[in-house]
Each structure stands twice: as structure tokens, then as C-alpha cells.
Symmetry: D3
Subunit: 131 residues, 6 copies
């Protein structure tokens, strides 16, 4: 996109209602950061959406069968496929913090680009699934 809308209004901690502060506090504690990022401050205009998406994110991104680094790398890959530049920037930073090297980043990008190309070809060539 090229004509960005005026920036969304950000809700700062000081003016935030109680329920928003509770989520902000949980984000800061969980991520061990001094401040929530601007995207969460924008979501805070809609406290229910802020709470729900943070709760999902926290649960989905917690290390489990897949570790934190690979979870960030999967999120990065999806954000690249979806063309969300701010998401790409954010997940790239997070993945780097979790140990993704420059070489891994390069290979990830090559895989995403290759998959996008192949997805188009596969849609174009409907074939019976292999047995």
C-alpha cells in the first residue's frame, strides 16, 4: 500500500482504563520489556480486542513442541507471505533476539519466496493427489 492512513491513535498507559493497564502490565511482565509496542497501544482503543489477541498470542507463542525461535520464524514466514511489512519488521527483530542468524534469515526468505512461486503453479496445475 502506498497512501498510508494517518497513524492510528495510541493509548498510553497513563490515560488507559483499568482493563487495558492490566493487559499492558502482563505484556511487560511476560516479555520483560519496559513498554508495550505501538501496535498494542493502538489495539488498546478496543480493550476487548487487545485482551483477546494478547491472550491468544501469549498462549500460541509460548514454547511448547516448537521452541520460541522457530515460532518467531514461522510467524515471520507467514507475515512475509501476507506482505505485512510492519509485521515482518517486528517478527524479524524478535526472531533475531531468539537466535535466528543472518544465514537462517536468508534461507527463510528463500523458502518463502520459493513456496509462493510453487503455490501459484500448484493452483494452476490441478492434479490428482499422489497415493
Amino acid at each position: 500500500m502506498s497512501s498510508p492512513a494517518a497513524s492510528a491513535r495510541l493509548v498510553e498507559y497513563d490515560q488507559a482504563p483499568e482493563e487495558v493497564r492490566a493487559v499492558f502490565d502482563d505484556i511487560k511482565r511476560t516479555r520483560n520489556v519496559p513498554e508495550v509496542n505501538n501496535f498494542r497501544k493502538a489495539l488498546a482503543r478496543h480493550p476487548d480486542t487487545l485482551r483477546r489477541t494478547w491472550s491468544t498470542l501469549k498462549e500460541v507463542m509460548a514454547p511448547g513442541a516448537i521452541d520460541a525461535r522457530r515460532k518467531e520464524m514461522l510467524s515471520l514466514a507467514v507475515s512475509l507471505a501476507n506482505g505485512c511489512a510492519s509485521c515482518v519488521a517486528s517478527h524479524e527483530r524478535a526472531a533475531r533476539k531468539e537466535g535466528m542468524t543472518e544465514a537462517m534469515d536468508a534461507e527463510l526468505l528463500a523458502i518463502v519466496a520459493q513456496a509462493c512461486e510453487t503455490n501459484v503453479l500448484a493452483e494452476a496445475y490441478p492434479v490428482p493427489l499422489d497415493g
Copy 2:
């Protein structure tokens, strides 16, 4: 999609021109399979595209800074985001063969769905990038 086109014509090894056979042989050797899959047989109608895409795939998917299992999982995540059901089926099978467990598969899917939701919200809320 709902009204699938008639299936693409498949090029079988026996009727394939020399250059297609060379790619088919390389695929079978590299993947250690007795037969190439239907998608490659369909691409074989266009020998240049078959050769080029196989060459890229072989290079991109070879284990490097990222191992084979994680490369398949990244391809699976992108195919899910792109909504390519045949690609999903194919990469899911390959990732399983490389050791992706049912639990990893479940977590991967949750991450993809979560990222797609967040990508939309991030596009909707343009904010200044965090410093």
C-alpha cells in the same frame, strides 16, 4: 476454489523428452523415491519451468543453516497462509517424514492462524515503528 478445472495433463517418464527425463531422474535420486509426484509430471509439459523450479527447490530446501524438518515446516506455514490445499497436503506429509510430530503440527497451525489474524489488525492500525 470450488469448480476444479479438468485435471492437468501428466507427462509420464516413458513419453518424456530427454531433458524432462534428466530432471525426473535427478528428483528420484535426490529424494530417493521410485516415482516423481503428479505435480512435477504436470510441470513437465513445460520442460524449462520443470527444470528451473526443481533446481530452485533442490537448492532452497537443502539442509543448511535451517535443517530439513524446519524447512518443510516453513513451507507448510506459507502454503497454509496462501490457502493452497494440495501444497499443504504435500508439505505436511514431507514434514511428518522429517520428524514433525502431531503436537508440532498443531502448534504450527495455531501460529499461522494467529499470524494471519494479527497481520490484518496491523494493516488496519498503522503506527510509527518502535524505536
Copy 3:
């Protein structure tokens, strides 16, 4: 898409673990239906994803500032834009049950198609936002 993957495995109530049954029961109660649909039975392979997506859906689709019919119509519009045919079929049925008439359905479809056309043109023609 044209080469549908083999159908996902469905989890029936009788074989479902306790946590899945609890969600199935809540779905049936909330929607007043005798049986959950196949999509939820497929999600049930991943109990956490089933629980989380149902909880989000229940909260998001509950009548609020927007009534149930308009919420279904918005979901239908998005599913159309995303090209998800099974989602379209499901939301169309739900919107009809909530009172969407054939005429509304026709107007909705015309709006979605028109918006998709305009979105492409707007991306192609970057202009300064109007004051």
C-alpha cells in the same frame, strides 16, 4: 484450489477427550444445535485450538453494537474476499437464518466484488490522502 487433500480426520463426541466434549457441549448449547459441524470436529484434533477459536468466535459474534445478522453478513463478506468457499457456504446459511434476504445477499455480493476491484485500483494509484 483444485486437488483437495484427503478430508481431515473428524473427532466424534464419543471418542473425544473431556476437554473437547466440554467445548462441543458449549457449542451445542450456545447455538442450540444437536451436533457441532464438521469443521469443529476437525479442529478437535487440536483441543487447544478448538477451545481458543470457539471462545473467540463466541465472544466476537455475540450481538453487541452490531446485531447477529450484520455480524454474519460481515463474516460472509470477508470470507468472499478471502475466497474461502466452505466459509462462504457456512456463513451464508447462518446469515440467512438470521434474516438476510435474497436481495440483501445479492447486494452484499455486489459490494464485495466492487470493493475488491476498487482496492486493486487504489493500490495502483497511490495518492495523497484527502484532508
Copy 4:
């Protein structure tokens, strides 16, 4: 997108050919505004496209079985799903003018994000349609 192309050239009323002026006049009359927006001025480089898209828009967005507010809200939902930020900004403003409240806006956004997540999951889990 992140490297916006140079802005499209805008056609101002004074320099516009007769057929473009006729469309501009109709837009101003229909919407009761003193000036057409920049997007229409950019489309005016291609008078046929300007005329055709305006004619479609005028017909599709006229209140019918669905009222003006809900039509703008549907356009907003589709623009969000398509990630067109300038379209989002424009339809959000229009929907507000037609009476969409902050609370409705928040619920609409939550529905769009939720639908995008579910669409991906539904594509990933092909199931037989429910009877």
C-alpha cells in the same frame, strides 16, 4: 508495501476533458461534496475507467435492501481483509459519517480479524460440507 511509488498524477477539474468533468459533476452532486477525492482525480487519467467505476459504485452503494451505513461497513470489512490502507481510511470515514459508532468499528474489526483466522483454518482442514 513499503516503498511507495511516486504519487499518481491527479487530473484537476480545470484541465479535465468534457467527459471527466461530467463524472466529477455527478460525483459532487451525488455525494454533496465540493470536490472529488484524490483517488477519483487519479482515475481520471483513464476517463473510461473513471466513468465505469463511478457508475458501478453509485449503483452498488445506493441504499437498497441494505442501508448506506451497512454498505459502507461491508466495504470497510473487505478493504481490511484485502489490506488496502487507503481504502480502509476512506471507508472508515464514510461509515462514521453514516452513523457507525466507535463501538461498531471495534466489533467490525474483531469480526474481520476473526474471520481471516478462521478462513485459514478452514482451508487447512477440508471437511465434507454439513448436510
Copy 5:
């Protein structure tokens, strides 16, 4: 997509209202075919949408600065990028009738796949536009 909705209801000429018959007659005359295709019969449930989309299609696809063959090939390329398999099948047939050869078809497909890959990389690497 993998769980196709039940087929849309088709409106046959004999049961069609007057305004639909007029469009059907114009399609048959313009394309010199004995019968409209199923897609138009489905659109006919919404006579206004049928009329409007046919009118746009007729105007947009008429040979002008770009000839009929290249117009069909452009439509085919877009349908491939959008992953609409029934559209691909339909435009491929039309482009063939207008003289697109097997070799052109192969090159077109390679360009679409290559562009989809590059589009993703370009979104990932925001750079200042070249002077």
C-alpha cells in the same frame, strides 16, 4: 479450497425474467456462442449484477490498444495470481481460441510464478525507489 459448497443454482433461459434474457441474448450475440456459460447462469440470480458485470466485461475486453488475445492472456495471468482455478480454466480456453500457443502459455505461467516470487521479496526488502 477443498470442501466445495454445493453448486450455485443456475438460471436457464426458459425460466429467466426479461432483463436476464436480454443480457443472455447480448452475450450469445457478442461471443457468437449458442449458450451462455454456467457462471453467467449463476450470476443471473442477481439480474443487476449480471447486467453490470457483463457490461463491464464487454467494454473492458473489447479489442482496443490491446488486442483480444493479449487481453485474455492478461486476465489469465491475474486469475493465476489470484488462485481462481475455474477462472484460469475459462481464460485459458478463451486465450487459446484467440491464438495463444502452448509455448506462449508456458512462458506466461513462468512469468506469473516468477512475479509472485519477486513480489514477496520486494515486500520484504523495502528500498528507496530508484531515481
Copy 6:
């Protein structure tokens, strides 16, 4: 997209490793330009991806059954459908250099917009393929 990531780091010829210089030299020779564009300089951070994508581009875009102008126009159409503004700007410039007139550009845009609208309608109305 609206919050562009900080610009990608560009690799200039003077600091580039041998393998990158070789590709840069080939690009300059093939396109007869004094300097590679910023996108290639950004890709150069990942020399393998630079080499592979340039090699594919060079092969795919070489005049064959389709001439250079029509190849650029197809790439432009796909970039429009994918909403990649920097790709649109770049392919539009290239297509103009190959002889695409203002009138052709206008018709191309109208076709892309029309196809995107029809693709959505076709996904919404699954019909049996015509015989």
C-alpha cells in the same frame, strides 16, 4: 501497508563480494544500465538468492514466444493483482520503455481490476465447468 520497516541495507558494488559483483556485472550488461537497482542491492545481502532470482528473471523475461513488452505487461498485471506498489512502479517503467502506451496502460489496469472482481464472484458461485 502503512508503517514501512526501516529501509533494507543496500550492498554497493565496491563493498560487494566477488560472487555478488559477478551478478551485478551480468545485470548491467544484460540490461545495458550503468547501475543495478536498489532492490537487487538489497537482495545482495543474500548472494545465493540474488544469483538464483536474477538467473530465473533473466531466463523468464527473455523474449521468446512472448515479446519483451508483453512480458513486462504480464508482470505488471500480476504485481497489480498482488498489490506490490514498488513492483508496479518498476514494471510500469520497464513496460513503457518497451513501448507500452498510455492507452495500453489504461486498458491493462481496467482488465486487472475487472478480473479481480470476477475472480471473487467466480469463487462465490461454484458451478460445474462447461463442457
